[in-house]
């Protein structure tokens, strides 16, 4: 039997957790949410599945590959997200053979899938809906795709009343993960065994304490309750865990920190003497479930995101400033020419200034980092090289990189609201780059944005070196000097 898995929820209800990941990839008790669905499919003997993805599709594909880890075959297609299951089924190139299982991979269900399949197979109906503990399990066994009813699979903000279609109710629990509280609770339920069919990674070292490989955890860390510690974690021996605690992979908890009934997501640092209660921690985000507050902690001694590459950033800033100084020295003979030509052309206004968004970051009142703006000028001459000479100063000051995306104003950046439009914002702005080198100044904004998106999608040091060499080549061409 084959399975079709919908993992295309947009994830607005789980923000800020979904601002860098799709729901399918969010960790739940040591595994991603979609992995729990794959585990259940393999357990039920289903080894072929087609996954329908939307946001961060490339990350999901990279994480799951073709399913080799589960001994199954995975294929993928992408959609705009949360579309009608009927339409999505029609778009799949390789139609599954009936009967097939169709289910959501971005909710959590704990129950016996094999029992459901056995009972559903004995019912003569075009489709049979799964209920776990009387609730919609977002799973349908389909015998006739043209007549089947897939309404129960459609994602809606609130749980829909159960439809009148044929159904099989098996013992189990469904976590819709439709709010941060639901996500938090599902994690705690998984570690306490209430979602008992989930395969939780790790081994139990003392009663109630399960830990992953290469983790440094002490029996005395667990004061009371149950805890699941992921792989490659380091907990100081004075750390106290109580209640139900889930700690993801690659987490560091410093001395005398206290964690009670909380979920610490991967790559987080919990600082010395910090007390976390009833909360989700993701890097330096603290999400309080008791009062609903979402805080960005700016003090890295308290909470920190261990994925931030501070060493690389520091080296990058040094390299950019150094190359800016070098470029400024080389360009010095050009400055008098630019000033003279500009004065000849527009004696009253030879130099104009404007504001652009730079690469430096500042924390706002809520501790959220934002890129700052800087003032830059240009000489009023036609020659592109001479006109933009003052931008070299922005490289020296660290506001621009040597190579990067086209710098834009805050106004232009604020108009980028869609997911695809924000892709270009992931890379730093630069003096030179594909858009600056390859596109005419009067190219449409969408074309410039797409050029920067391509740059962001393929961002690498090798690519930057390529553009550096291209810049040298362009410098000796007429289009660099004459408009």
């Amino acid at each position: 039997m084959e399975a079709i898995i919908f993992a295309d929820r947009n994830g607005q209800e789980l923000l800020p957790l979904t601002n860098e990941s799709s729901i399918a990839l969010l960790p739940l008790a040591g595994k991603s949410i979609l992995e729990h669905t794959l585990d259940a499919l393999v357990d039920a003997g289903i080894l072929e599945a087609h996954v329908i993805l939307s946001s961060y599709a490339e990350k999901v594909k990279a994480a799951l590959g073709h399913g080799e880890r589960w001994g199954m075959t995975l294929t993928y297609s992408v959609t705009r997200g949360q579309e009608s299951p009927v339409q999505e089924l029609a778009r799949i190139q390789k139609k599954p053979e009936s009967p097939f299982l169709i289910l959501r991979g971005d909710v959590i269900r704990s129950g016996d899938m094999k029992t459901f399949l056995q009972k559903a197979a004995s019912i003569s109906s075009v489709s049979v809906q799964a209920l776990y503990g009387g609730e919609n399990a977002y799973m349908v066994l389909c015998l006739d795709p043209l007549k089947a009813n897939f309404d129960s699979l459609k994602w809606t903000e609130s749980a829909q009343p159960l439809s009148s279609q044929a159904s099989v109710d098996v013992e189990g629990v469904v976590a819709r993960l439709d709010s941060l509280k639901s996500f938090y609770q599902a994690n705690l339920d998984a570690v306490s065994g209430e979602l008992n069919t989930l395969l939780i990674p790790g081994r139990q070292t003392v009663l109630g304490l399960t830990q992953g490989r290469c983790s440094e955890v002490y029996p005395q860390n667990l004061k009371q309750g149950v805890a699941l510690i992921g792989s490659n974690c380091h907990l100081h021996e004075s750390v106290e865990l109580s209640g139900k605690v889930v700690i993801g992979d690659n987490v560091i908890v410093d001395r005398r920190a206290t964690i009670e009934s909380s979920v610490i997501l991967p790559y987080s640092y919990v600082g010395e003497l910090v007390e976390i209660r009833n909360a989700i921690v993701r890097g330096n985000d603290l999400i309080r479930l008791d009062n609903g507050a979402i805080l960005k902690i700016s003090d890295t001694f308290l909470l920190a995101d261990l994925k931030s590459a501070t060493i690389n950033n520091s080296l990058g800033v040094f390299f950019n400033c150094f190359s800016g100084v070098l470029l400024l020295l080389i360009s010095l003979p050009l400055w008098p020419i630019a000033i003279s030509l500009s004065l000849l052309k527009t004696p009253r206004n030879p130099y104009s200034k404007y504001w652009l968004r730079g690469n430096k970051k500042e924390l706002d009142d809520f501790g959220v980092p934002h890129r700052t703006q800087f003032q830059v000028g240009e000489w009023n001459v036609n020659s592109p090289v001479l006109r933009h000479l003052p931008r070299i100063l922005a490289v020296v000051s660290g506001d621009l990189n040597l190579i990067g995306a086209l710098p834009v104003s805050f106004e232009v950046a604020s108009r980028r609201t869609e997911d695809w439009e924000k892709l270009a914002d992931r890379v730093p702005s630069g003096l030179l780059g594909p858009t600056q080198l390859n596109l005419p100044v009067d190219a449409p904004d969408d074309e410039k944005l797409m050029s920067d998106s391509f740059y962001a999608a393929h961002f690498s040091l090798r690519q930057d070196l390529h553009y550096l060499l291209q810049s040298v080549k362009v410098l000796f061409s007429s289009r660099a000097w004459f408009k």
């Binding site: 946001s55 705009r80 778009r91 997911d419 390859n438 449409p444 074309e447 797409m450 998106s453 999608a457």
Partner: protein, 112 residues
């Protein structure tokens, strides 16, 4: 690049093949604009035989999408594996309706 236009009932189809790059964008842009302007609000852009696509070509697709939105019409892309991977990489799949074949694209538009 080769451009080919056809009509299926009230659905306009524009088929592109070969390399779709910056040099081709003015021609494709013009043809798409006139098709959207004069059409019935149903358009399939068949990129199934496109072997390479660059950022300028993607910008033309976005422009067509926006023009179609103004007209409250529907635009469906048929993609080749190369185009599909670039569209996913640049997250354009979150705005475009994509079909794996011309037949399924026509089916999707006929039901609208």
């Amino acid at each position: 690049m080769i451009l080919h236009e056809q009509k299926h009932n009230d659905i306009d189809i524009i088929e592109l093949s070969g390399r779709f790059i910056m040099a081709d964008t003015p021609e494709v842009q013009t043809r798409l604009t006139s098709l959207i302007k004069g059409g019935n609000g149903k358009l399939v852009i068949d990129l199934g035989k496109v072997t390479f696509i660059d950022s300028s070509a993607c910008a033309v697709l976005i422009s067509a999408f926006k023009n179609m939105q103004i007209k409250s019409g529907h635009l469906v892309l048929v993609t080749s594996p190369v185009v599909q991977s670039l569209i996913e990489l640049t997250r354009l799949h979150t705005i475009f309706e994509i079909s794996p074949s011309l037949v399924s694209a026509l089916d999707a538009l006929e039901s609208k």
